[in-house]
Symmetry: C2
Subunit: 196 residues, 2 copies
């Protein structure tokens, strides 16, 4: 389909933001960023969102690590992201496509326990026969996290690491099956005072 944002590159990317509901929000974000190795991605922050671009595993590795380091402070932290593949709109970060696929931050965070609630929606904009693939991936997620329906999305409850890994798998599988521009929106909430 026609799409105003797309070209044919295979670079993945995300526009995301981290919101600590705390007077100390600047320190929480700054310290989380300092703890994360971002050397395999292109990254740029402005006053609305942060953009990360590179190979898909690194885009997920970096966003997962930034979120977990912010959330482990115990403050109420929200994470909002739109992951995208097949649609760069420009060439920023293309040089990072030469990096290998070894994630730089997963070893450091894999044992951090941080339960969260999340909602995600997948929008495969290129058409194609991808629904069975998505359902298989969501079914596979049920081994690791609690999956339930929500308005305009699918809800996940569980450990941060398992949820981010599940999101990466379902996004990668949709990209593989759909072949064209794929978008996934994610909202995650940690340490909410109104959590169940």
């Amino acid at each position: 389909m026609t799409d105003q944002y797309c070209d044919d590159s295979n670079i993945a990317g995300v526009s995301f933001s981290i919101h600590p509901m705390s007077d100390n929000f600047i320190n929480i974000i700054t310290e989380a960023l300092n703890e994360v190795d971002t050397s395999k991605v292109w990254m740029k922050t402005d006053d609305v969102t942060t953009t990360v671009r590179g190979k898909l595993p690194h885009v997920f590795d970096v966003t997962k690590a930034i979120f977990i380091h912010a959330a482990k402070t115990g403050e109420h932290v929200a994470f909002q992201a739109t992951y995208s593949l097949g649609c760069p709109g420009d060439s920023s970060g293309n040089a990072y496509m030469a990096e290998d696929k070894e994630p730089l931050n997963s070893a450091q965070i894999k044992d951090i326990k941080q339960p969260v609630a999340a909602k995600f929606s997948l929008y495969p904009l290129g058409g194609g026969n991808y629904m069975d693939t998505i359902y298989e991936q969501i079914e596979a997620m049920k081994k690791h996290v609690t999956v339930s329906p929500a308005h305009y999305s699918t809800r996940l409850d569980g450990e941060s690491v398992a949820i981010f890994n599940g999101l990466e798998h379902v996004f990668q599988a949709t990209v593989n099956a759909s072949s064209s521009h794929t978008v996934m929106t994610v909202s995650i909430s940690a340490n909410s005072p109104s959590q169940k």
Copy 2:
């Protein structure tokens, strides 16, 4: 196209969240909600997002008012939303489609000055010849706000009221032109310490 979230209803909806970066976040959200008349929409909040459903003008009226009442506190407040039409997934709130189109909150907020930075992306999932319509609407927005390109999105800088009104117009126009499921993601930041 095939779509896992859709049926044929014409109800609009949004899944959104408000994030005040302040220790006082609960009061800011609670007081903003108290100032907004939500009687013409179906609304439900959980620990991740708030869902609002009803006629399109009321969905925008209510979210615009909640954001502006939270932002006028002067705290750094972020707003994240996914607006959707043509894709309810269920029938919650269908009773509210009998309401008239008169927005309940616009008079109260129309004179509140609150400059913000925003990014939005439109995803018309049903195909169709909508690009000219989107470009016309974005061109029309330039009379009221500053429009610039951003990664995976279009950036808007200006007054909150003008930005929300512009977003409502471009979303409505896309729905009219695209005829099927339309999704729009919006990130807005008010009173950011890192704003330009």
